[in-house]
Symmetry: C2
Subunit: 275 residues, 2 copies
């Protein structure tokens, strides 16, 4: 059975993303931090890893690109997961009995409209959505609710007190699928690259013009300051194309403008698919 | 006395950034989340706010650009703070007695080289660097250390058991200084802007070429997916210039390519200044 590393515990959104990509018959390796997830893959403890990389509300988890570089991992796929937030409580508990709500800060932020409408309830940040659900079950807490996904409700036998309380219904998280093997030759229509530019003004415009001329579309770009090199930057970009020859030509030309350019992986693009 | 909102509690890096910008004679308004920080400014509870926006290790806190947009705040300045991490414990406690270390996940990540060299110590994530220091003082914990800044050591009378344990010595955090007043006419040499582009390939290349032609330098760029509009993007960018006339011309031309373009503030650029 495939061993897939996820960040966080069973019942969290990373589990749902892993199953969407690889099916139900997988063995999960729970990793407490994103660094641990990379280590698990590098050491052979897991065959594959699923790592959140951007969210419509919280933005980019740009530090994760740094980890992929540092551990020399390859991106082999992506998963988009619609994020729906549920207010979970012990069966039989009513909304009027709830005095405390726990969840991860990003999840709380995604439900701010619902939370602003409550009165007499104290909201607390926790480390994980699923952890908050587990705490209610294990502590038998009848005055506390958690904000988490449906997977957590099933895992800890909690009821959905109020469903789909996320403010924005088109809320999604994009996950990358990683392996420890090189992945440069696979047929695909999307790539993630990383490149460094010096302080010379306008170099980024030059590189993006190369992509434009070769009909390459940019779906994501993030600049990151370079540690130890003030005023120099590393950029992370995701590219899509209709013809792979265009991509290969663009990469060749782009190399002239960048101090270094790394291909993190070529893979098949996925889509939002909000049914 | 000026009331300045900070994220987190007294003793955290936000306090040090606020004092570097506005001096020692300020009144701090502690805000638990970045959203609370914006609310505090909007409601007039505070006159100014200091908000972390990027870090050499953790990358960009891109969700904060979204909050600045949402609450229609203005950027009036920036502060770069060198981040040095200290291992703090009760006076008299030796390193060999430490069984547990607590700190914020980002701070732990910044000290991973030091932590990997320890054995027999369990590392736990907490909500805040200064909170971890306070917990040790209040609980009188003689087997526990916290990773935090020097301000926290002073505030909670803890000793520095091991100094400057951050892996990268050129580690800094950039903070934005915000107000609730409009700030479009001030003389400055740096601006933060936000713009939306449709799905048409190459538009970003066109806009960056406009900046290049007008001698505008780009010091930061982040793309963010637009909530409710799959395949459309909002970009955040920071720009610097030698002549403000160049900037004004560039903004006029850039407007032709973007669906909308917002000026978040013009301010005097700061620098890393690692003494």
């Amino acid at each position: 059975m495939q061993k897939i590393a996820i960040q966080g515990v069973r019942g969290a959104f990373h589990e749902a993303a892993a199953k969407k990509y690889a099916g139900e018959s997988i063995q999960l390796v729970e990793c407490m931090t994103f660094r641990d997830l990379c280590k698990s893959l590098k050491s052979g403890q897991s065959d594959m890893a699923v790592m959140a990389i951007e969210n419509t509300i919280a933005g980019s988890l740009s530090q994760n690109y740094g980890l992929i570089n540092e551990y020399q991992l390859s991106i082999v796929g992506e998963v988009y997961l619609r994020i729906q937030m549920q207010l979970l409580a012990l069966p039989g508990v009513e909304l009027s009995a709830i005095k405390f709500i726990y969840s991860h800060p990003v999840a709380l932020n995604q439900c701010n409209f619902f939370l602003d409408g409550l009165s007499g309830v104290q909201v607390y940040e926790s480390k994980d959505t699923a952890e908050s659900a587990r705490m209610i079950r294990e502590g038998n807490l009848t005055d506390t609710a958690a904000i988490a996904g449906e997977t957590a409700a099933q895992l800890y036998s909690l009821d959905i007190l109020k469903g789909n309380i996320e403010t924005n219904k088109e809320n999604y998280t994009r996950f990358l699928v990683l392996t420890n093997q090189s992945n440069q030759s696979v047929e695909g229509d999307k790539a993630s690259i990383s490149f460094e530019l010096g302080h010379q003004p306008g170099t980024l415009a030059d590189i993006l013009t190369v992509f434009k001329k070769n009909r390459i579309n940019l779906t994501n770009i993030q600049s990151m300051p370079l540690v130890g090199k003030p005023y120099e930057y590393r950029f992370h970009a995701d590219l899509t194309w209709e013809s792979k020859v265009d991509f290969e030509k663009a990469m060749e030309s782009a190399g002239e403008f960048a101090n270094s350019i790394i291909l993190l992986g070529i893979y098949k693009r996925s889509n939002f698919n909000f049914q």
